[in-house]
Symmetry: C2
């Protein structure tokens, strides 16, 4: 075997490992390597290989003929200095691809199959197209509930697992789709004020106008190191941070990076994704929020129940204490949609401001109450009262201020967006429907979540009466192009349905 | 919109379009571009975009902050000089992805769906993972025969189409899997000697020890320009060239580049692939060879018949005159396996050498006879006699010499490989089975098709008697490492089954 000199190529290829070989390298022709071949890179004969996609280079500046270039992420995985000797060979398809073929042919897979697939994916042995084949195979045949369980277990087993050192570590998760649904930022201070541990890692928005991490970032830092999080959890009993840095269920991240552009929607996959992340994050008790409504992700009671049963099935078999609540998902929650506007709603609720949106407050208390009842000392049915007391007494607001201080308060308060437009009602009537998807779309067009202050401020909710020309909601934007896009979208379809008064 | 300066990055990314953007480019953060995003690149607002996968660069040498780098193939598609102004935007998923989702959900697709999918694929609007989703969706639900027809038509419509200016343009295709099956190099000179037009483009080996193009290359040049091919076809009535340069059914090439690493095996996909290439290549009359045997691609008569019906269904509806012959695929054809050894067999048959393998000759005559009967002046059942006459009279050999001269004779005759090993029979007996797959595997390990002279020379075929220790076949190799790999594989499993004499 001929060694090549390792070189770092300053190209960020994210979750796709890429290696660069010069066309003039003697190995290129003799070994029949071609661009887009999958190769194995080793620093010795018996070493665990790093698998990468090959690109052929015609420029010595990028990779010389005696070198092997690796993209930034791939180089990091080699854990070897530049100039170190590496050996390349053709990668064989991962052994577990046989199970993927079986799934495509309609067979069920066993625990071992999922474990091997996840191990191969975690070791970067799967190309994007092999991952796509696995996901489509699962989406098309569907996953049996045991398969969902096995996939969950395998995703947990192939990553790190946090331990907060306590029997009861509470968590919550909403399956999403409802704009403005920022209950987590109320639940965490309520639950932590009670003394229950709730170390909450959240995501940033990917397809929505704001994620909890985006909204919390308006008030405090959310990119924290694991050691800081441990310390804050101990002292404050809770935090609201971004969960992107830990190596929790890394296979889930890899699957999502293929699943999302494909817009695949598989129930089993979703449940395995959520539960593997929560188990890996060290949660012992978990509340799941399934909003139900005509423009929510779940649109029928039957579908919601199926989902609940599947959550319970997998939760029970992985040692999670899991409760599922089906909530009202017929319209956005609160008034603001977009990080800064949602943060404003949250602060109003915490501060018992009379302008605070009642629906956001009540939903947060309902969910916080269910979580407080995980405490054996809280009597069944008393959780919600307890939560209300913690909130209305100001203890939750005090706790939130402590958490913000511990995470690092954002010194710059969010400023109002520069541009505003009121979307008027086309006729007088009663609001009978609000389309969550259209509201989310307009808020994103306005610039959320990239522009923290951009988004939508709702003035009317279901059942409200409106006069012709009265503002249904305001659009807030920082930039003219975004503003025009959002206005045009709202003028084509406001997302509101009104029924004329008789 | 902010323009970027176009730059060619000397990286060969084959069939995957890749664009490079510097992390310091102002568009990177403001527009939320991330590595592995799909972007559209245009040289003006209303222009047809080139779609590419984004990589983020941290080295000004590769792409500066005011530049957009494109890989070699992507740059060629832009058709714009370096430094030209280009604009980038997020690519939306292709519209036809809705049809892919419908297929994954188990629905059938209509003619329009396949046309739109193929147009989007031809325009590089599909990422590899979207192509994988389409292929797995088709493999899992299967393609109805009308869907196979629509896919064939759409693949033809989205590429170039050759026209040889004659009513009868003959072609043949073998679905593959049988080592040594080099009948094309006999059929073309026989058919052309009769005066029938047979412009044959062939593939190089991808998973087999030799393709027709690899074997012909032992004797003559096969990388010819379209104008040369037209001229040779006119003067010689036939040629045997590599078909890789023309833009015939380009969608098929793109699908195969994803299908092959996935090792997906779908009947409808295979038929659409074969027939779209043949129709695009301007064939009017086509003979399909389906070898049947326990280690062939098709292993039962029922399967072979299904395949035949589907070929006929699609052929009849696309205006192809198509005949299907089911042939004996129980063992390799001829003696040599590997380009030079197969070329030797072919020449022996053409030269009526008494050492010529009878099975190769008889199979070639059978198929050539069927093709000759496409000529209305040849009486049904007389084709094979006519073919035998053309071969045994030496006219086919003369024609082959003319074709070789026209394509450009290879001045270096193939030399024998340096290393030889005879694989002995472990006991006396009769040969009852030869495993096509194992023979192909050993020949590839020995170095075929990269080393033209490497491969296997068979001394025993089905029904032959052997003594203990007698050579079943010889392994030929150029390099020691290959030689050892091939020897070890043969020692573990020779691919031969012997039955002891009673």
């Amino acid at each position: 075997m001929t060694p090549l000199k390792l070189r770092k190529v300053a190209i960020d290829t994210h979750r796709e490992n890429v290696a660069y070989l010069h066309r003039g390298c003697p190995l290129y022709r003799s070994e029949g390597f071609q661009s887009l071949n999958k190769i194995e890179v080793r620093d010795g004969p018996e070493r665990q290989p790093v698998v990468a996609l090959l690109n052929i280079v015609d420029d010595d500046q990028i990779t010389a003929p005696d070198e092997l270039g690796l993209s930034e992420q791939t180089f990091a995985q080699m854990n070897l200095p530049e100039g170190g000797a590496v050996y390349i060979s053709h990668a064989r398809p991962p052994d577990s691809i046989r199970a993927v073929h079986a799934k495509i042919a309609g067979d069920g897979l066993c625990r071992d199959d999922f474990m091997q697939i996840c191990q191969d994916i975690a070791n970067n042995r799967y190309s994007k197209i092999e991952i796509a084949a696995f996901l489509v195979g699962c989406a098309e045949s569907g996953l049996e509930r045991d398969e969902t369980l096995y996939l969950t277990e395998a995703m947990v087993a192939t990553g790190d697992r946090l331990d907060w050192g306590e029997q009861l570590t509470a968590d919550k998760h909403c399956i999403g789709g409802i704009p403005g649904n920022r209950t987590t930022m109320l639940i965490v201070p309520v639950v932590a004020a009670h003394g229950m541990l709730m170390p909450k890692t959240s995501s940033r928005a990917i397809t929505s106008p704001a994620g909890t991490a985006d909204t919390m970032e308006v008030l405090a830092q959310v990119d924290l190191m694991p050691a800081q999080l441990q310390q804050i959890a101990q002292r404050q009993r809770g935090f609201i941070a971004w969960g992107g840095t830990a190596n929790l269920s890394p296979v889930d991240d890899i699957l999502i990076s293929v699943e999302r552009p494909l817009a695949l929607d598989s129930r089993g996959q979703m449940i395995a994704s959520i539960l593997s992340k929560k188990i890996a994050a060290g949660s012992s008790h978990l509340l799941i929020d399934i909003p139900l409504g005509p423009s929510a992700k779940v649109r029928s009671q039957a579908e919601a129940l199926k989902l609940r049963k599947l959550f319970e099935y997998v939760g029970d078999r992985t040692g999670l204490q899991l409760e599922v609540v089906i909530t009202d998902g017929r319209q956005p929650i609160g008034k603001g949609v977009g990080p800064a506007l949602e943060a404003r709603d949250v602060l109003q609720v915490l501060q018992n401001d009379p302008r605070a949106p009642v629906d956001l407050k009540e939903k947060a208390l309902q969910l916080a109450g269910r979580i407080l009842e995980f405490d054996p000392d809280v009597r069944g049915g008393q959780g919600c009262h307890l939560a209300r007391d913690l909130l209305e007494s100001g203890r939750a607001w005090q706790k939130m201020q402590d958490i913000i201080a511990a995470q690092g308060k954002n010194p710059v308060p969010p400023k109002q967006a520069r541009l505003h437009f009121d979307v008027p009602a086309s006729a007088a009537g009663v609001v009978t429907a609000i389309d969550n998807l259209q509201i989310a779309r307009i808020a994103r067009l306005a610039g959320a979540p990239m522009d923290k202050s951009a988004g939508i401020d709702l003035h009317k909710k279901l059942g409200d009466e409106v006069e012709q020309g009265e503002a249904l909601y305001s659009i807030h934007a920082e930039f003219h192009a975004d503003f025009e896009f959002a206005k045009n979208a709202a003028q084509q379809d406001s997302g509101y349905r009104l029924q004329a008064r008789p």
